[in-house]
């Protein structure tokens, strides 16, 4: 696995924003890329905190 792949795994485990995944999704689905990286990260981080962490 490449370093990039390892970093992606860590991001997913942590629940961190992954702009590359967003770009891949847009490309695969044929969607227009609506958000810049900065906008994507802001939107992602602003929407966290709605799920409880377990005891």
């Amino acid at each position: 696995m490449t370093l990039r792949g390892i970093l992606r795994v860590i991001r997913r485990i942590l629940g961190a924003p992954d702009y590359a995944a967003y770009l891949e999704h847009c490309r695969a689905a044929g969607h227009e890329v609506r958000l810049t990286e900065r906008e994507y990260v802001r939107e992602f981080l602003d929407n966290k905190g709605k799920a409880p962490r377990c005891c």
């Binding site: 602003d46 929407n47 966290k48 962490r53 377990c54 005891c55």
Partner: protein
Amino acid sequence: MRRLGSVLLWIAVSAAGAVAFGVLALVRGEPVSAAWLVIAAVCTYAVGYRFYARFIARKVFALDQRRATPAERFENGRDFVPTGKWVLFGHHFAAIAGAGPLVGTVLAAQFGFLPGTIWLIIGVVLGGAVQDFTILCCSLRRNGKSLGQMAKEEVNPAAGVTAMLAVLFIMVILLAVLALIVVNALKASPWGLFTIACTIPIALLMGWWMRSWRPGAVGEASLAGAVLLIAALVGGGWVAAHPVLGPAFTRSGPALTWMLIAYGFLASVLPVWMLLTPRDYLSTFLKITTILVLAVAILVILPPLRMPALTTFATAGEGPVFAGKLFPFAFITIACGAISGFHALVASGTTPKMIRRETDAPLIGYGGMLMESFVGVMAMIAACTLEPGIYFAMNTTPAALAGASQALAQAGFTVTPETMHALAQQMGETTLLARTGGAPSLAVGMAQIFAGFTSAIGGKELSSLWYHFAIMFEALFILTTIDAGTRVGRFMLQEIVSHVWPRFGETSWYPSVLLSSAAIAAGWGYFLYQGVVDPLGGINSLWPLFGISNQLLAAVALCVATTVIIKMGRARYAWVTVAPLAWLVAVTMTAGVQKVFSADPKLGFLAHARTLDPLTNPSAARMIFNDRLDAGVALLFIAIVGILVLASVREWWLVLSRRKPAETKEAPFVAVAAL
């Protein structure tokens, strides 16, 4: 030939597990190696995962890898993201793992290592992992719907409302209990308080780093946060010894209580990226790393267990850590490591929206919970490697110790003041006596294991650092649960009140944000305060309430799962969820009734209230009120369980007797190839 090899392998695994259980059950009067606990646990998990999880996946839910999951059908690159099974296993585990399996297990060690271990291992295989897995499957087949939505749609609307209220009440009790553990761990501990206080500016820095300075650089920010955290940990030793800073960071329980309430309120009203999210990343990093290191350290040094298999407190019910007999209190004290209703919220939250294939669900739902149970087993090992005298001296309040001193002496669980003083010095604390709540004794156990592991590089000298590292590790993720919980509680309250005052439901309207945050923080803060000033030790009264409420939520989840299984036309397999449900109802009802009506003042809230005389004790009126409030909360939980179980049984009866069509809200089948 391959099949024969597989059969022989599983016979060998089963035999190894049986031998390990045999050793644990039969060896008496001498220390037992922790290896037997590890072997018993790992073999049972392996057999449970290979056979029982597969049975549920194939026969009960008929999981189909050709069926498209919500992650595929609704993929949006944000919430709905198809994720590899091992990555999602890590994500799910990080979300369900908290302080519960650590602390509850440590407290239950007062019964000896055997009852708690058996419940952790058998309970998870037949109950906890089944609950997590079945709710994950139910949500997966319903577009990732939440537990409350499924209760409303599959059982009835009243059950949905009851489940939502149950979650809110449980959240309040849960946050109070977890906060109490932090208060007890940081009380009169300048080193610990300084380290934890430093996590707030560190989190603020990380938040700014990730969102504004270098957007999305979570790895960088977390790494910087981890380095600063280590610096704060090392600096804490210097602060504690400083003539001015040391006393400044030495705080009483009530003072810490007010600080925590203020912190919970602020974390709820501040933007989520500023404090909550960076703390969450930091604590997840620390949690996964520490658990892995602890597992390796235990496996390398395999310490002997000094606590006996069974203590006299199991049957007498006169335990100094908490009152009550083994049944039902061992089974509600250890909640999260064996079965935890809270996990159903995660299993019907983010996880079902990320599963790539239905056939990945056993590893994530069932396997993730097995891992959580293993964390509980490690906590049991850490607690039971302590000398029993030290364990009881740390986990017993002075008031309870006075009553239990004879029983402790008869059992040989004694310790000299000199030993306790030397241990406190070794751990960098002024005292370790009456440090109730489970966290400090777990920290001492972990510090001894870590120091044993690092003995080649100066083990004893590192003990105080390891002790405060363990305290920081526990407090950090408890605080993450507290700030996330206060915020989620705020959203729930806003939603409930919005039915009568629509504007209150606007999550960005600041008067509503402030009022709802204050209400939730005041709710858990009140229970926390009463626990801190309770002379018998708040853990004694609050931890059972937490256990009852958490198991209540598990009962809600199992009611929903059973209803779904019956409506799927697989009633012949309903025992898979009905069996743990029946056990949980028996445990919660018995514990609830005993906590309210027991004639023993150490156990029953009302009996305790009757012993207080307002004429001779100036705080009696307040304590009587608190006892009655706790009794009311316990009765409320019993009523909620009763309503939900009756509503579910009625639904099952109507469907099974064909008085009602078996309509389930399962999403229609969409083949993977069709997407």
